[in-house]
Amino acid sequence: MVQRLKEVDVVVIGVGMVGSMVAKELAAAGYKVVGLERGQTRFTVPEFQSPAIHDELRFDVRKALMQDNTREAMTFRNQSSQTALPIRRWESFLPGTGLGGSMVHWNGQTYRFQANDFQLATRTRERYGKNFLDPDVTIQDWGVTYEELEPYYDRFEHLLGTSGKAGNIKGRIQAGGDPHESPRSREYPTPPQKEHFQGAMFRKAASSLGYHPFPQPSSNLSQPYTNPEGMKLNACVFCGFCERYACEHYAKSTPQTIILPVLLANPNFELRTGCQVQRINLDSTKKHATGVTYIDAVGREFEQPASLVITASFALNNVRMLLLSGVGAPYDPATGQGVVGRNYAYQTMSSVASFFDEDVIINPFMASGASGTLINDFAGDNFDHAGLGFIGGAFIGAVNTNGRPIQYHPVPPGTPKWGKGWKQAVVKHYNHSVMFSLHGSSLAQKQNYLDLDPTYRDAWGQPLLRMTFDFPQNDLKMAAHVTAKAVEIGKAMGAKQVEGSPRKGPYTVTQYQTTHNTGGTVMGDNPKTSVVNRYLQSWDVPNVFVVGASNYPQNASWNPTCTLGALTYWAIDALKNKYLKNPGHLVSA
């Protein structure tokens, strides 16, 4: 029997970064907010303390902080002619679960996108002509501009305390920062983290080639910081256990360190963990949500009525929630009609390994998740693509995050895969290698999409999300081009052997790449090509807001978190100052 609970003003699905931010603001504004989190409660003490949190087998290999795919998996195929199979072990991407969400296990890399990214379709057409791209490419403008988002980027960076060096303040280029960045209103809240040795090597080599190296913006903080919520963070100790782990030092910006204690202290907010939301409930018109239905940890089913529903779960799960609920028309790749699941994009990751003589000591373990040095000279539209046959790019950086013993062992191609020869090579190269990461953009194309799997279901009997994805040719060309540039930097560093590994197809889910899954609930100014309007409000059901990287029409050359934080504050502003004062469509279709 379904128990019907007392109605609240707002129900938030997922209490990660977005959910915590939205709930905090709306509860503070006087609304009764319930946060439904499928995972468990967890805090820096006791859950994240060492030595337990440095268990590489548990967290890195066995993915202890990730979505439980014995109960809730996803299925995958490269193209729609294939039959998708469930991903039973996360490798390519790692969706988190539990209070604080995926931000608990992030690396802290906190980049803004550039002005060009938000108007990618228009700017590409203007600069390269309308027939420059493959007709299958479905890139589009965001419906919001960088200039509009700038104050929200600023606010988010100050929530996190991000450590970095500005490259462009109000149009003035700043020495030591990224000259390619779009103008920011002020300096980062805290100075950059200390540069490690490989970062210094990279800086010197990249400068010698005429590029513009700068310190990675890091939300593993360089110094103690008190954010505008009154939360105090510590300085990072460079332990090298960020991504896939939680931080024991209160030094990484995560919901637990930047906002959750403030939210949980507000009596207008109620957190319920172990709650698996089944669907958003709609009334008979299908144009109005009445709340959500969820199943708690002991299997009881509840209906939670609410005036406003906000889906704030991981990008892929936002898409699935709308599909399970019938909010918005599902995308059909055959006709190009429908929007939910459309424009799924990823990140095109390549790498370059530079091997040095044994007198060059790298100490890769002395790092944080974002203490590297990089260039944006080949990212986004920062270089002329005329004649290249692709758009987009990648940042290139000595941004290696760790030297952990089980997973980090760079060896040159041709090394035996196991046995004595492999072991000898690991010993020889472990401390004398530099790995560049090439973090590339990802275009949307009509063959790549998300829908519900017709066969496989989760532990609650609901269809799994099905991913159909392969790398667009555009992105593979981009990867090859930028990798060649990065190899030149490796050689300029004086490495005796430099090996470039440009991303190649087909896409596989059995190799780690990145957890930057985007799209599927795309934002925009046209309901035929977007799920939500520029304020992240559903075109079809105006009392549903969808907030996540699922809103990105395509993915840019940088990590998505900072842009998501900016979008979240942008949407919060619209909720508080527009929607909640006068509920209804914020944009007329």
């Binding site: 805090f43 820096t44 006791p46 510590n234 300085a235």
Partner: protein
């Protein structure tokens, strides 16, 4: 040699394989950590003699003088000791007595003293003011687990499992005198000591109250013989 020293020497003998070189710092360059380690392993071990100017306060075997808040040095990380001597000499750690001693030492002598004390062993002193069970439990909690309400991480997160210290990074706490540890935390708390990387100890110390400080320092003081 007590068990702690044996363990430390064991760790260092591994590094000796790659660091077999006499310590020979140049006048300008600060010694590399491996040089200090090498010095530690080549310094006489066993019943090492304390240095005359040091032993008056730090004891004949580096056992310290708890009542005067003088730390135990025996078996302490050579890298940590050297950094403190350098900081005293440069004024980045302020102590009028130690400043004069440290300034009078050459770079090479500082390294030798650090290595010598790192190789020493000394009996652990009995607790002058034993803690009750509640205090010990709180001390253990702060040491091993930290406190979410205070927003402090476990001391062991940086100071090593059971507070045994981490060479070159953080001093041992286990077996150090409660009196010295408390004075050090108070100095960080009041900002009179500022030579902590990233203001890490100042951040933590500011969140501890006197009850916490008594508990955690008293707890570590009891751990010298029990766990090592």
């Amino acid at each position: 040699m007590n068990p702690r020293s044996r363990r430390r020497a064991g760790l260092l003998s591994g590094s000796l394989l790659i660091a077999v070189m006499p310590y020979a710092p140049t006048a300008s360059a600060a010694p590399a950590p491996t040089q200090v380690q090498a010095a530690a392993t080549t310094a006489p071990v066993g019943p090492a003699a304390a240095a005359p100017p040091c032993e008056a306060c730090h004891g004949a075997h580096g056992e310290g003088m708890a009542a005067a808040h003088v730390p135990r040095l025996a078996g302490q990380s050579a890298g940590y000791l050297l950094k403190q001597l350098n900081d005293y000499a440069q004024g980045t750690r302020d102590n009028p007595i130690m400043r004069n001693f440290a300034k009078a030492l050459s770079e090479k002598q500082r390294m030798e003293f650090a290595a010598r004390y790192a190789a020493m062993s000394a009996p652990f002193a009995a607790q002058t003011t034993p803690l009750n069970e509640v205090q010990l439990a709180r001390g253990h909690q702060l040491a091993f687990q930290g406190s979410e309400t205070k927003r402090v991480q476990a001391c062991d997160s940086c100071h090593g499992p059971d507070g045994v210290g981490v060479d070159l990074a953080a001093p041992y706490l286990a077996g150090q005198s409660a009196e010295y540890l408390a004075s050090a935390i108070k100095a960080f708390q009041q900002g009179t000591r500022k030579n902590d990387a990233g203001e890490l100890m100042r951040s933590v110390a500011q969140r501890l109250d006197d009850t916490d400080i008594t508990a955690v320092t008293g707890y570590y003081a009891t751990q010298g013989t029990a766990t090592h």
